[in-house]
């Protein structure tokens, strides 16, 4: 650690808008981990999220752990990273660079490249055994995918979500039940998926 020592009472940790969470993942959560919110309670007058490891159920956003590793059943402090901050990434997925988009992935505490959710600001840091990058989270409400089968206009059906680099888009672990309110969509054809008023909708993107 080099540079100018911060004054503690005005330091970044004090200034951040932390939220309490309870670790219900069954394992120790490393610093800056991406955590899936599974619920919320009031703990001595304080909002406390219950978190677990990201899974195959798609989340609009995640809670990011602070700089302290939190053991199973213990409590920690997390943030939504509305302001930029450190988040862990999987180095095997690549080296984050400014402007890229990285996102959560099933069964890992770290971000994966070419997934939605986190805009990279830069500032790679290896800290407490974690590869971290400065990023800013945004709510994910728009995706791409392919219906598993034809969905008639006004009906609902399952859409497999695709993510990845341009020209290398691949199916992910996420499936969403979507409403084809506006138009029918053809199975295995590209479509757009968007979130409105609490409902996932699907619309055609590739010609049938």
């Amino acid at each position: 650690m080099t540079g100018i020592l911060p004054e503690i009472t005005a330091s970044p940790f004090i200034q951040n808008p932390w939220k309490r969470f309870a670790n219900a993942s069954g394992e120790t959560i490393p610093p800056f981990s991406v955590m899936r919110i599974t619920g919320c309670t009031n703990n001595y007058g304080e909002i406390t999220f219950t978190v677990a490891k990201p899974n195959s159920t798609f989340q609009h956003d995640y809670l990011i752990n602070g700089p302290i590793a939190v053991r199973d059943t213990k409590y920690g402090l997390g943030t939504t990273l509305a302001q930029a901050g450190y988040v862990a990434y999987r180095s095997g997925s690549g080296t984050p660079a400014y402007g890229e988009e990285w996102g959560a992935k099933n069964a890992q505490w770290t971000l994966e490249k070419n997934r939605p959710g986190f805009k990279i600001e830069g500032g790679i840091k290896s800290t407490a055994g974690v590869d971290a990058i400065v990023a800013r989270q945004h709510l994910v409400t728009d995706l791409i995918g392919k219906p598993d089968s034809d969905i008639a206009k006004g009906a609902t059906g399952t859409v497999s979500i695709y993510m990845g680099a341009q020209g290398a888009e691949a199916v992910t672990e996420y499936d969403l039940t979507c409403s084809a309110l506006g138009a029918a969509v053809t199975g295995s054809k590209w479509c757009v998926v968007f979130w409105r008023n609490g409902v996932w909708y699907v619309g055609p993107w590739e010609c049938p």
């Binding site: 650690m1 020592l5 911060p6 004054e7 503690i8 009472t9 330091s11 970044p12 940790f13 004090i14 309490r20 309870a22 120790t28 490393p30 610093p31 800056f32 703990n43 001595y44 304080e46 406390t48 700089p67 302290i68 590793a69 939190v70 053991r71 213990k74 409590y75 920690g76 402090l77 901050g85 450190y86 840091k125 800290t127 407490a128 055994g129 974690v130 971290a132």
Partner: protein, 530 residues
């Protein structure tokens, strides 16, 4: 004696037949009792008392009548009137002096802008007393008595100062003050026709040793801090717990969800990750240079809220810096790294001197290599006194000198004499390699006090002489008291002078000792200067 012209005059008093004037050292006025025919005194104005003996006049200036009464003549019907006169020193009863001098810094050295030698302090007192003729050149140098004059009586301040540096105040009766070191000056003259044979004897007031008791020695070193948690299982039981590593809480120190009792939570919030008692020197050693006893328990440290390091402030001059905490801790930064080398802690903390606890307003911890919370490595750099483990003695500065007299040791209380020791550290930040100290000036000043008081006891002789004449005997550091006495009545004897060296023969008048007792009581009642 017949045939020798004698006389006594005082303005406004007629037909003086006899007098007795006793004059001693110090600030108490000497008194003269005049006998005369009963008369109405129309004035109490001051004037010169003129004693005429053998065509010579001996003048005691600025005497003033303060009291009169009638006395029946022995063996004769009728009365004589007695008038009490007080000498010039009666004017020293009033006045005020203020000032603060010889202020000591945290390391025991004198703050230079306030530094004054005893003769300089005496000058200030004499000027406040309204005196213009004085000689303070014989006063000792190299000692710096602490002065806090808060509008107190300047004569009493001068008296206390002189006692502090073994000096005597003389000449006040002549409005020409001379301050002598005790035991110095000319001996009584041994010429002339004196009545009593000279039988000198050595003084009996010398102690076997002089013992100078200074102030507490102040140390500055790094002290190791260890966290603890106060846990109470019932309302009135508090058990400080220094948790082992496996028991150290691995949960959020801001919510403590594992502690569910309200009172226990309150105690835990005050202590867990927030209170760090002092446990030992930084490297765990139990000895320190300049300390004669081992340091084996935390309570031996009497922590102070300052360091011996100083800075120059804009308004107050030299000031001590506040204590400092340093160590390896999480600096509340954005990343998860704690300091891997000792760094200064830049947040707020306070030292609770009851319990020697450093207390932070928020949790302080260190992160492991995997980001888990651990107890931080913390050290406190501050000034402290040291006491023995049984609390039966504090490390103080002392000095002594063998005198060899017949009396018990004389203790000189000089709490302003102490020194500071500041330890220096190796590159690892916790091992002492050297020390800076201010022992030398402290010891030099102590030795000067011992020199001064040794001289006041050494080779002193008590002597008492009375002459059948009036002789002008000046008081000094040896000659303690003079009495002039005379009567112009044929049957009452002639004019005599009696003087004593290194003791006072007249115990009925306001002696030096009586005056000291009165002044001590008065100063306590009137809250005069130390």
């Amino acid at each position: 004696m017949t045939g020798i012209p004698t006389g006594l005059t005082f303005p406004g008093i007629e037909d003086i037949s006899a007098f007795e004037y006793v004059c001693g050292r110090g600030i108490e006025p000497g008194q003269c009792i005049i006998e005369c025919l009963p008369q109405e005194l129309m004035t109490n104005a001051a004037g010169d008392l003129v004693i005429t003996y053998d065509e010579n006049d001996y003048t005691v200036p600025d005497m003033a009548p303060v009291e009169q009464w009638l006395k029946q003549q022995d063996g004769v019907t009728g009365f004589r009137m007695c008038v009490r006169l007080l000498d010039h020193r009666r004017r020293w009863k009033g006045g005020a002096i203020a000032g603060r001098y010889n202020v000591r810094l945290a390391d025991g050295t004198v703050y230079t802008p306030t530094k004054k030698e005893p003769f300089e302090l005496a000058e200030l007192c004499l000027q406040a007393m309204g005196e213009t003729a004085y000689d303070v050149s014989r006063m000792p140098t190299g000692v710096y008595p602490p002065i806090l004059w808060d509008n107190c009586n300047p004569a009493q301040a001068l008296d206390h100062l002189c006692r502090y540096v073994a000096c005597e105040i003389t000449g006040g009766e002549r409005a020409a003050v001379v301050i002598w070191p005790t035991g110095t000056g000319d001996d009584l003259p041994d010429d002339g026709e004196y009545i009593n044979p000279p039988y000198p004897m050595p003084t009996t007031n010398a102690p076997i040793t002089l013992l100078l008791m200074g102030g507490k020695i102040i140390f500055q070193a790094k002290l190791l801090l260890k966290g603890h948690v106060i846990q109470s299982s019932v309302a009135t039981t508090l058990t400080p717990v220094i948790p082992a590593d496996t028991n150290w809480p691995r949960e959020s120190p801001w919510s403590l969800p594992g502690i569910t009792t309200d009172e226990t939570r309150q105690d835990a919030f005050e202590s867990e990750f927030r209170q760090f008692p002092v446990v030992s020197l930084a490297d765990g050693a139990n000895t320190l240079p300049f300390v004669a006893f081992p340091i084996t328990a935390p309570h031996q440290f009497i922590l102070q809220n300052y360091r011996l390091d100083v800075f120059t402030s804009l308004s107050l001059g030299t000031e001590s810096l506040p204590p400092r905490v340093e160590g390896k801790f999480f600096p509340y930064a954005d990343d998860a790294d704690s300091h891997t080398t000792i760094k200064p802690f830049t947040g707020r903390f306070l030292i609770r001197q009851d319990g020697n606890i450093v207390e932070f307003p928020y949790p302080v911890w260190k992160t492991s290599t995997t980001g888990e919370m651990e107890e931080p490595d913390l050290y406190l750099l501050t000034a402290f006194y040291l006491q023995k483990v049984d609390r039966d003695g504090i490390c103080v500065f002392t000095a002594s000198r063998l005198i060899g007299g017949p009396n018990a040791p004389k203790v000189l209380q000089r709490p302003e004499l102490f020194f500071g020791v500041k330890y220096l550290y190796a590159a690892n930040g916790i091992t002492i390699i050297d020390a800076l100290h201010t022992l030398d000036p402290c010891n030099a000043e102590a030795q000067r006090y011992l020199d001064i008081f040794t001289a006041s006891f050494t080779n002193q002789v008590m002597l008492d002489r009375e002459w059948l004449e009036i002789r002008d005997i000046a008081l000094n550091g040896k000659i303690a008291q003079v009495r002039y006495k005379g009567s112009v009545r044929d049957n009452d004897g002639g004019f005599t002078t009696r003087a004593s060296q290194n003791f006072e023969f007249d115990i009925h008048g306001p002696t030096l000792t009586d005056g000291q007792v009165r002044r001590d009581v008065t100063s306590k009642l009137e809250r005069s200067c130390p």
